[in-house]
């Protein structure tokens, strides 16, 4: 399987590889990290074969090192993803994907009557509520609770 992947997506010398992204989530992750405006070379694999997931997406970003904070945000979309930092074609670090306590300035509150809309001086802010496998987010302002799916699907 890894041989197939190497054939399909070229190795990078320095940067970050985000692997085991559930299929169809890859573009959302590019959006999350605002990579669509980047000048760096980005290789995207969509619907690649995966023994664990059936099919998966994969992103390789040259010369960009994703921080642990950024990786935590990724955990909301793709908790099973792996984030590898690459130097000289070698994996030098694997970032743990742990959910953050707070997600700030990433999602727009789905509640259209939330004051966070239309107030330029404030960022959206959500507390992550995690119980077993169930992840929800509570808006700091309107206090409404939203499922992980509502947040990530709208983004």
């Amino acid at each position: 399987m890894s041989t197939d992947n190497k054939l399909q997506v070229e190795a990078i010398c320095h940067g970050t590889v985000i692997d085991h992204i559930p299929a169809h989530i890859g573009f959302k992750i590019l959006n999350l990290f605002q990579m669509h405006g980047s000048d760096q070379r980005i290789t995207i694999g969509l619907n690649l074969p995966s023994s664990a997931l059936g099919s998966k997406d994969l992103i390789k970003i040259e010369n960009v090192v994703i921080s642990e904070d950024q990786a935590s945000q990724l955990a909301l979309y793709a908790p099973q993803a792996t984030v590898n930092q690459i130097e000289d074609y070698q994996v030098v670090a694997k970032l743990p994907l742990t959910l953050p306590e707070v997600i700030q300035g990433v999602f727009r509150c789905p509640n259209s009557n939330c004051i966070a809309h239309g107030e330029p001086a404030v960022d959206s802010s959500f507390r992550v509520l995690s119980e077993a496998d169930d992840v929800k987010l509570r808006c700091k302002y309107c206090e409404k609770v939203f499922s992980r799916e509502i947040m990530t699907e709208r983004h």
Partner: protein, 314 residues
Amino acid sequence: MANTLYNKHIISIPELSRDELALIVATAGELKARPNPTLLKNKVIASCFFEASTRTRLSFETAIQRLGGSVIGFPDGGNTSSGKKGETLADSVRVISSYVDGFVMRHPKEGAARLASEFSEGVPVVNGGDGANQHPTQTLLDLFSIYETQGRLDNLNIAMVGDLKYGRTVHSLTQALSKFEGNRFFYIAPDALAMPEHLLDELTAAGHPYSLHSSITDVVPELDVLYMTRVQKERFDESEYAHIKAAFILNAAMLRDAKPNMKVMHPLPRVDEITVDVDKTPHAYYFEQAENGVYAREALLALVLNEQVEGVAQ
């Protein structure tokens, strides 16, 4: 206990501890029994109603004036020049806070009070209602009324009736009473307006029993408090509403088996969910409850704006 409410923003009921709720209730009782016209002397308090709410505004402003404070503000944000010019809430709050010692606000958007607390430069903000989210002072006057009529806030049987899905008063009252021990909750609502699941989960986590019902009369004999709210007619078709009316509108005959101490409460205004024959029964308490809004708000403002409030155990 120490006055941990001093200089604190009052935004949301879940942020108040059991002791803080008990302190506000005790202070309201003190101020009702022994008025003190000096607790807000020389304080100027903004009463900014970005959305009209006659009863809440008048009771806040009465509370401020009865404690010797002065009020500035407006009754309807739509008529202010800053509103018409499109000023952001953050900027309005920054400016108004620089004039006053305390800031009472009501706003149609959820989260407005929280946002205001971030821009008030340390001036305490009291939420007078933010959209469908929180209305903490309503809950405080509800708690005070329950304490006044039952002599305690624990080991009570409380029923909540009506629109439990969208009704912020029943959500906040549930959250507040769940901080006290031994309370049992009865939720009576049409299926379409049932109590939100996440609040029921919170009750379970806190170890409070609850049950769901479709008729008031089934539970009346067990109750200490029957808290009514309005079922909005427009949420149902005509035949459905006719059925709902029978089960969720309270009349005097339905109270025949009530315990003598049982009180009927309602945040008001009522439309037709409590018939007027209930007013004459010893169980009706909604007008006293509305009056208690002044004492609960007096207590809250006195505690937020004074490090110590004389005459109250602290």
